[in-house]
Structure formats: structure tokens, C-alpha cells
């Protein structure tokens, strides 16, 4: 379940908590998404968008940490 795609928040449109929309770029394809669930999001942030709603702001530090963890796996020594 749950196809959610990361995109970069380009700008925030007017609106209150319920109706706040933002423009999100997915590799250059720009689409509007509701920001109702990410009140803290700011332009430049990467958000995860599902069914037209941003459901979280992605944490870059954690992303790098995950990649660093993966990078520590040693390649298999070939016999």
C-alpha cells in the first residue's frame, strides 16, 4: 500500500490549516499538493506526497545516515 513519492516543495499558496496548498516538484514535474499535514514545511524542503497530500517532511540527516549505514557493508571478498 501507499505509493508516496518524494518531491521538493517549491512554494506555498495562501490558505488556512485546512486548505493550504503547495507546489511540489517531482524531478521537474510540478504538481499541487495539500500541506495540511505538514504545517512546518517550508520551500526547499522535500516532502513525501501520497494521494495529493504531503504526509511528512523528509529528514535529510536521517537519509544520509541510512545511506552511510548501507555504505559500511563490506563488499564480499571474492575467493
Amino acid at each position: 500500500m501507499c505509493l508516496a513519492v518524494p518531491g521538493q516543495l517549491l512554494s506555498i499558496d495562501d490558505g488556512d490549516a485546512l486548505t493550504r496548498l503547495g507546489r511540489v516538484s517531482f524531478a521537474g514535474v510540478v504538481k499541487q499538493a495539500s500541506l495540511a499535514y505538514v504545517p512546518e514545511a517550508e520551500p526547499g524542503d522535500y516532502v513525501l506526497v501520497h494521494a495529493g497530500f504531503a504526509i511528512t517532511v523528509l529528514d535529510e540527516v536521517e537519509a544520509l545516515r541510512t545511506l552511510a549505514y548501507l555504505a559500511e557493508f563490506e563488499p564480499e571478498d571474492l575467493p
Binding site: 501507499c2 517531482f26 524531478a27 514535474v29 504538481k31
Partner: protein
């Protein structure tokens, strides 16, 4: 033509069980194929080569000709990168080119819905004129019908075309051999995304443009250069995957594809990610694959690039080994590409 007496297979076509035609039957995938194989072929085909995929080739008094037809029901009629008129011309031009022919003359049949704006018709006709000129073909005959309001989706177009065979040998799946290179003429997925975005009102601010274009010239250059083109196929509905599966199964070969070599433009990728679509199955209108002997691969790529196509080798042909299939190299190994059963739908899951 060839003088043999064909035997029409007595396929017991199931009588209508209340089953109706579904949109999937026009999707270019499994159901389309079944419709052709189980309903049309038994009714119309008199020889195995009849009703093959792209066009028909035959000889009349020594002249080797190709003949093809296509109908256009696209919605919306106008989309970024083209309209139903551009599609109608280029579609048939490309079908003929894929036979290894030089497209020459086209017919145009229009079915207009009462109430359709003449201004829109003028736009479409203008597009067709420009597309025909760009493709080097002449529209020499046509027909117009009008149906009552509500009985037609604005405008349907059928084009049929005749061309002169250029390739000395047949260009068909049957000529594909293990070892052949599979060359793709450019990036994939533009047309399908352009249409879906426009039709479903997906609200992409940055419009993705259809790649609708005529392919006769690059094909001609290949043939004139003496490349022994085994098979050509333009990618339409069903995308790259469907085109190659059909070739593999008709030609009884296996095809190994390298996913990393297949170019997908970033915005198209982004759109596919959002919609949950696999670019391999998304429609194109200005791309084709060429299957040529391995020795000709480099030359083919060079010639196509010289024509402006971003051609690249994306795979190779191998022996079928019991199962003619298209295999895609993935992170975890290879997976077999399957024929989609219907139109790929955006998913949320």
C-alpha cells in the same frame, strides 16, 4: 498473391456471453491481442502473414508495396506536443516505415460529431497538413461523415497509407535472429504521460510533450546505408515492453534488456513515479526499436543519431529456449516482462 490455398482455422468463437467490449480491448495489450487472434484473424486472415502487426506488404505487377491503416480516438484531441491530426498522419506514416517502406500516399476518413467546432476542425486539418508535409506524404483521398450529437467523441480519424518497399528483404519478427542487437531510438514514455496528464487533469504545471513524430526518414537512411534491418517496430500503446514481447513471441526468440540503458526523461520519470506507472508500458508515438545483426549495431546507432534520434543499444536477442520472452536485467537478477492485460492505470497502492 502467393497461390496457396489457405485453410481457415475452425476456431469455435464463443458466442456473446453478455461480455462486452472493454476499454482494455483497445489498450494494445493482452485483450487487444486476443480480440485479434480469436475474433478477427479467424474471420479475415487468409494467410499467416495477413493481419500482422504493423502493415501488409505485397507485390502488384512487380511493384513491392506496403499498406497500413490506423484509427485515432485519442482524448483529449489537443495535447502538449500535438493533436489527433498529428497522430493520425504520423501513426500511419510510421506503420509503413516499420515495414521498411517509404510512405507515399495517405487517405483520411473523418467521423465528426454534430456540434463539433469548425475552428477545432480547422486546427486539426492544419496539423495534418503540416505533419504530412514534414513526413513527405500526400493526402490524396478522404471521406467525411457526421454523426448525431452524443454519438461520437467530437472527432474520430482513420488514416490508411500506401508506401513503396525500400528494404530488399522483409522487415518482420520472423527475421530476428539470436545475437541481433536491439536498438531504441530515444527516451520513452512521453506520449502516454502527456495524454494522461491532459486527459485526467493531473495538473502538472510543467507540461510533458508528446513525442509524436514521423520516423520514415531515419528508417530510410538505415536501409539506404545497407543495414540489414531484421525488424522494426514503433512503440505505441503498451509501450516498449509490449512491442518487444510481440516481437519475441512472433519471432520465437528471447530478448534480454538492460534497464539501465533505457532512457526516461526526468519529468517523465517523476510523473511515472507519482502515478505508479512503469515507463516500459507507457505509450509513445515517435520512438521505435530496430533489431539488426550485431555487426550492424554500431553503424545503426550512428546513422540514427545523425538523424537526430538519441539511439542506443538497449538489449540483445537470444535463443528462446522453450519460452519466447523478454527479460529485463534488474538489481536482483532478471525478471520476465509480461503483457499488460489492459491499460495501465495510475495506482495509489
Amino acid at each position: 498473391m502467393n497461390g496457396t490455398t489457405p485453410i481457415a482455422p475452425q476456431c469455435p468463437i464463443p458466442t456473446a456471453t453478455g461480455e462486452a467490449i472493454e476499454l482494455a480491448h483497445g489498450g494494445g495489450g493482452l485483450l487487444t491481442h486476443r480480440l485479434i487472434e480469436r475474433l478477427f484473424r479467424p474471420a479475415f486472415a487468409e494467410a499467416p502473414e495477413d493481419l500482422t502487426h504493423d502493415g501488409a506488404v505485397f507485390e502488384i505487377d512487380g511493384a513491392r508495396l506496403a499498406f497500413s491503416t490506423d484509427s485515432y480516438v485519442v482524448r483529449p484531441l489537443f495535447f502538449p506536443g500535438g493533436d489527433i491530426g498529428t497522430l493520425a498522419i504520423n501513426g500511419t506514416v510510421n506503420d509503413l516505415a516499420m515495414c521498411g517502406a517509404e510512405p507515399l500516399y495517405l487517405s483520411v476518413g473523418l467521423v465528426l460529431e454534430e456540434g463539433f467546432a469548425i475552428a477545432d476542425l480547422r486546427r486539426v486539418v492544419d496539423s495534418m497538413r503540416q505533419a504530412a508535409r514534414a513526413a513527405g506524404v500526400r493526402l490524396v483521398t478522404g471521406d467525411t461523415k457526421v454523426v448525431e450529437h452524443g454519438k461520437g467523441d467530437g472527432l474520430y480519424i482513420n488514416t490508411s497509407g500506401v508506401g513503396r518497399l525500400l528494404a530488399p528483404l522483409p522487415v518482420a519478427p520472423g527475421r530476428v535472429r539470436p545475437g541481433d542487437a536491439v536498438i531504441l531510438s530515444g527516451d520513452i514514455g512521453r506520449h502516454g504521460i502527456a495524454i494522461m496528464a491532459a486527459r485526467e487533469g493531473l495538473g502538472f504545471e510543467t507540461p510533458i510533450h508528446s513525442d509524436c513524430a514521423p520516423l520514415a526518414m531515419p528508417v530510410r537512411r538505415l536501409i539506404e546505408a545497407g543495414v540489414d534491418v531484421h525488424c522494426l517496430r514503433d512503440l505505441t500503446r503498451g509501450g516498449l515492453a509490449t512491442a518487444l514481447i510481440e516481437i519475441a513471441e512472433t519471432g520465437h526468440v528471447g530478448i534480454q534488456l538492460d534497464e539501465a540503458a533505457i532512457a526516461v526523461a526526468e519529468p517523465v520519470r517523476g510523473a511515472c513515479e507519482i502515478l505508479g506507472l512503469d515507463p516500459l508500458y507507457v505509450a509513445n508515438e515517435g520512438r521505435f526499436v530496430a533489431l539488426v545483426p550485431a555487426a550492424d549495431a554500431e553503424r545503426t546507432v550512428a546513422i540514427l543519431r545523425h538523424c537526430g534520434e538519441q539511439a542506443v543499444v538497449v538489449g540483445s536477442v537470444e535463443a528462446a529456449n522453450g519460452a519466447a520472452a523478454v527479460r529485463l536485467g534488474t538489481i536482483g537478477g532478471t525478471r520476465v516482462l509480461d503483457m499488460p492485460s489492459g491499460e495501465q492505470l495510475p495506482r495509489i497502492c
